[in-house]
């Protein structure tokens, strides 16, 4: 199989919308939320912060959840995984799931 890849690859991507700016605003927004709630910015009086009712593991889960959402958006739209086949998605996803499972086990056990 020796063909050039340009036409097919380009056509497929151009057929989709490119919400790049929206994704950036979303990423910045989530980051802002993280900073607003989880660092010593005195933007909200402590007793009104949602964070003050959360415990250690709840905070870790919320923050890691934010990170996963952000990473998913970057991978889907900026790295165009949304428009790739599952075969390509498996390449980074399988080691990610595998190693994450190992380290989640180490963290909890």
């Amino acid at each position: 199989m020796t063909e050039t890849a340009t036409p097919a690859a380009t056509r497929r991507k151009d057929a989709h919308a490119r919400p790049y700016l929206q994704v950036m605003v979303l990423l910045a927004g989530i980051t802002g939320l993280e900073i607003l709630f989880f660092t010593p910015f005195p933007l909200i009086p402590h007793e009104f912060q949602a964070i003050s009712f959360l415990l250690k593991w709840q905070i870790i889960v919320v923050l890691m959840g934010f990170a996963v959402v952000k990473a998913t958006f970057v991978a889907a739209y900026y790295m165009h995984l949304k428009y790739e086949s599952w075969w390509i998605r498996y390449i980074p996803l399988l080691p990610l799931i595998g190693v994450a499972a190992i380290f989640a086990t180490f963290a909890v056990v």
Binding site: A5, F38, S52
Partner: protein
Amino acid sequence: MTESAAILSKGEAHEGHHTSIWPFLIGISAAIAFGGLATHLAVTAVGVGLFIFAVGGWLVQDRTVKFGVVDGLIEDFPFRGVSMRKLGIWIFLATEVIFFMGIMGMSFALRVRTEAGLVGANPLWNPDLGVTWAAPGKVLNVPLTAVNTFILIASSFTMVEALHAAQQGNQARIRLFLLATLLLGISFVSIQAYEYQKLFLHEGLRPWGLDPGTFAALHGGEAVPNWWRTYGTTFYVQTGFHGAHVSGGVLGLAFLTAKAFKGGYSQKNHEAIELVGLYWHFVDIVWIFLFTVVYLV
């Protein structure tokens, strides 16, 4: 246009000849350099020297051989329609996933076993009770790093816009967005260098720990906490490897930008922008997790 079309047809006539020894040498030299970190710094010096030589050789070769004019060869099942070079980058990124998961998992596993409070968290969860880790924001400068986070997010956006411009063949926008990405990348590295200097000299946070006298002098006579050395190691290992990746990306971006200003990319020939972009976005994703693991939790 006619010139690039001529090169394209010439390239197609010589398919299969677009191989280069230099990436292989770059990999070998990096391995030697890292091996030196565990054995002797002279070995690292040799590795770095070979690395610079190999990058130089690749740059010289790029001026004579028109890589990238032919947008790679496409794969058969199961990666039908995917260019070989793109597949290679994805496999490389998969190994990077394992690498960064390793060092971040190490830090995360250490962190969740400690009782250091989160700043702004439940006051009953006292940061001063049973602390074996720094509470977020106590040692590290979170506001400054937050600025860095926004910079990296913005650079991902400009990078993907540069690719879009290349797909449309808009030369002015290719140059504009590549230059913007390059400048944002340089800003990120500069801010991190500033942060390192502050932490290293003024906070006494070192990758290898430091003598109690120096710590006491910097912190008004306080004793070194028992977690200080481990904390410093995990911090520098994670941010250092990420920073090295960003610096490598900046070199790649500098190459792309210089080439773009010479009109090196067109609607038909822009795979290099896509590949460097994939790497750059991956580095952004690593920072997203690193910011949470190192700075926020």
